[in-house]
Amino acid sequence: MGIEGIGARVVRKEDKRFITGLGRYVDDMVVPGMKHAIFVRSPYAHAAIKKIDTEAAMAMPGVIGVLTGAQLKDDGIGNLICGWMINSKDGTPMKMGAWSALATDRVRYVGEAVAVVVAETRGQARDAAEAVEIAYEEMPAVTDAVKALEKGAPQLHPEAENNLIYDWEIGEASAVDQALDGAAHVTRMKLVNNRLVPNAMEPRAALGHYDKAEDHFTLWTTSQNPHVARLVMSAFYNVAPENKLRVIAPDVGGGFGSKIYVYPEEIICLWASKRTGVPVKWVADRTESFLTDAHGRDHVTEVSLGFDRDNRIVGLKVDTIANFGGYMSLFSSAVPTYLYATLLSGQYVIPKIHCNVRAVYTNTTPVDAYRGAGRPEATYVLERVVETAARELGVSPAELRRKNFIREFPYQTPVIMNYDAGDYEASLDAAMREANYAGFPTRRDEAKKRGKLRGIGMSCYIEACGIAPSQAVGSLGAGVGLWESAEVRVNAAGTIEVLTGSHSHGQGHETTFAQVVASRFGVPLEQVSIVHGDTDKVQMGMGTYGSRSGAVGASAIVKALDKVEAKAKKIAAHLLEADESDIVIENGEAKVAGTDRTLPWFQVALAAYTAHNLPEGMEPGLKEGAFYDPTNFTFPAGCYIAEVEVDPETGHTEIVQFVAADDFGNIINPLIVEGQVHGGLAQGIGQALLEGCHYDPTSGQLVTASYMDYTMPRAGDLPSFQVSTTNTPCPGNPLGVKGCGEAGAIGSPPAIINAITDAIGNNDLSMPATPQKVWAAMKASQ
């Protein structure tokens, strides 16, 4: 592996600028003449807009423009869309209601943008925003998806009768019913997957600049996928054609999915820049982040899991209601369908699976993918019901899982996915060893002496990452292909730039991708630079989400490296007067195998650009591009074991041990992988214990709209994690990698809840398991 190559624990190159305050984020960007935008937002969850009067605001000091949805429509800017078509089981397409970047006649959630003020300063814009007079006629609101489906519920969109966006299914309902009817035991549960607010450290921001001379737009934005943003704004929103729109996503301070989507604010900053003639910057404050960043999760599910007499699973039936909020966000439709139901087989042989999903409009912030996206919801359903079944059957949760593991690969599940490789027993065994599972009863007894209730819980998760084979997702309704692109540019003196369509907003690509290149040629890490996040620099790209940058993004780099290496070998063979097949490139030089004839790497590069002595007919230069389209998803999997102690007097839960054994395939940088697992676990534990997103059911106000009420995980809430990895290399991509960014958030919530319910002896406990809820559950079971 070398000290800097693939597999080395290299400290992140990018951290120096981040921890010394030298990162450059959208809010750091300054364009001459730049002015500031503040959005006027709906204070109501559901209301008709009767009148918008901007006259008083226009007269305020420093105001350059006050713009509304009517002007937006006049200029032909299109509605926001959801880019993944899902058909209901009756064959009808999903019912998408219109979403204008600035509301014109109706608002459907608190915080929805209605008008924008552009002024000399942020303060002036804020003052003027308060002077925009909007006459609302408040309407009844509904925030709960189950209630939104009920007869007589407030109706949000004329397009979606009964607020139902789609009623979708996968698998054969009758076959599953039959399997459950014949089962020796069926475990049934109702589970809620709580809504989460993403809370990236950097709030969303946009700076739109229209250059009249060139009739060209530039957008600096907090995006995980600048090329996708450009495509969507060009093809669907009619902001500008792609060749007239440059999108730059510079340093981005965390996304977790919430920065995949194109939001109204980016569109408006670009449009307002043209309308007002000045560059327009908007930076969300934290309240806006709470109210308008796409939320995650929010499922209500009924599940039945059947077993035969030998405790083998015979069938799984799942019925889910997914809350989509007031509008359909960009990828919302795919999350509770193809990113959720297709993972319901978990690590188990389940002969029959049926899942029905109803997606529902409510008067809440739109919901879309959030770290894990569908897979945490699937894992929660399956791992809660499997653990519960073990308790009901009176068998060890570990052994019940072991008995039902998939052991032969490739394995075709009944829900589309074809698992390529895995060894679930290996991660289960590794986790049980690390956790000293067998010693738990002794620890429980010891805790009891201290007055604490100790519990243990596990979760064996699987996820589909490396999103995604374009043809496959296209056949399932995706509006885009999900390949990745890379260009490897060897400079004349041998330094290397890699231009990648992946986008790093915390993942550490500047280090890991450089390690891949350094490994190939044996050049020092500092001679490799990673260029990303700018549509003018990087040829094409689909961005970073779904743990795809290693499996898809780095694979594109490998393909480009293959081409570079092939050409470099031809040049070296020519210069060393050897046969091309005898040339090897390693340790920063090209050499003729079995001889002492060598050529430094930089001389190979120089020769390519001086072009004084190249093989006959060869083009000068050493720069190659590649697109990589995966042939399958990748399937990271693992086993998490949580041990908790509950204070019986207060209901407070302390996680006293957390073991993670993950199979991510080959690993490029173990240090970064551990960091990703730690971050994912913090988010998963946040969901399980702390993060409760609460809407007032009548007014539709987001009650938890600040850190005074929304509990973010703090370091003190988390134990020192014991993380390790097992490895079955992914056969589907050249590096054998699977992806590690989401696993922690996917696998940990059920492990925590399984542990708490084990401790308190009451299985009726929902997330987040706050002290009050745990206390109430203990009280109820007394």
């Binding site: 003052d127 409760g692 206390w775």
Partner: protein
């Protein structure tokens, strides 16, 4: 539209004059509540008169069994005062657990009790310690000072100068923090003297800080946590919000009282 003029007063009389001269002025100390409120545009005073730099409001004095803490003493100063930690560790412990280091280095004891947030820590201490609130006009007993949620006996231009109390035999404070804000979801301060026990509860009462009679009575005969075994606290005048029901708070009052007594007994 939301311009504010900041004044730094160097004496009490100057502070009073600055406020009286202002259109719609407000005193500010650490600003830990007022400044966020202004940022959210829920308050827009024309003038802010900063009290933190008035020499008369500074300092922590202990003489004999009397303790006097200047109103402008920050939580960090109270937490770190070695003599106070020896004389009354419970109040040092309380100050150590207010907010985070940033809050503790800005927020003041005077500001905290003047704001009388129903989940703040100091009101419980003052009420249990039977403290006296000194102002530029008079002395007010803690019993009379805390009136209702965010409401005190203070007049508009009245400035808290100090709080004082006589050292108890024993005192202890235990709080169960709100998981999000880390304010007290319920906090109980107990103080034992020869003439009895006072137990004050913050974070739980519908009308702010209050004395818990059942706890005081139970502890009067035996100042031991076991004296509170099986005690039930009525939930009827306790708060219910998204973080805790009145029933849960009632339970926490009893549990925190026990832990406060344990802390007091060391």
């Amino acid at each position: 539209m939301h311009q504010t003029t900041y004044h730094r007063a160097s004496s009490l009389s100057e502070a009073v004059k600055l406020l009286n001269d202002a259109d719609d002025g407000k005193y500010v100390a650490g600003g830990q509540t007022l400044i966020p409120t202004m940022k959210q545009r829920l308050a827009a005073p024309s003038d802010l008169v900063d009290l933190r730099h008035i020499a008369d409001l500074k300092g922590i004095e202990i003489s004999g069994d009397k303790v006097k803490i200047g109103a402008a003493a920050t939580h960090a100063e109270v937490a770190e005062d070695k003599a106070l930690a020896k004389a009354c560790p419970a109040i040092s412990h309380l100050a150590t657990h207010i907010g985070d280091p940033h809050v503790r280095h800005m927020g003041t004891i005077g500001g905290s009790i003047a704001n009388n947030d129903p989940a703040a820590d100091y009101p419980a201490a003052l009420l249990a310690l039977n403290a006296t609130v000194h102002t530029n006009k008079r002395e007010i007993s803690a019993d009379d000072f805390f009136v209702d949620l965010f409401e005190t006996a203070l007049e508009d231009d009245e400035i808290i100068t100090a709080v004082s109390f006589t050292l108890p035999e024993k005192a202890g404070y235990a709080k169960f923090p709100n998981p999000a804000s880390r304010y007290a979801l319920t906090g109980v301060f107990v103080a034992k003297r020869a003439d009895g026990v006072r137990a004050a509860v913050t974070g739980a009462g519908e009308n702010g800080v209050f004395r818990a009679d059942p706890i005081e009575q139970a502890l009067a005969s035996s100042f031991d946590a076991s004296a509170l075994d099986g005690i039930t606290i009525p939930a009827d005048s306790l708060m219910t919000d998204i973080h805790a029901s009145a029933e849960y708070r009632a339970n926490l009052v009893a549990v925190m009282a026990k832990r406060a007594v344990q802390a007091a007994n060391g």
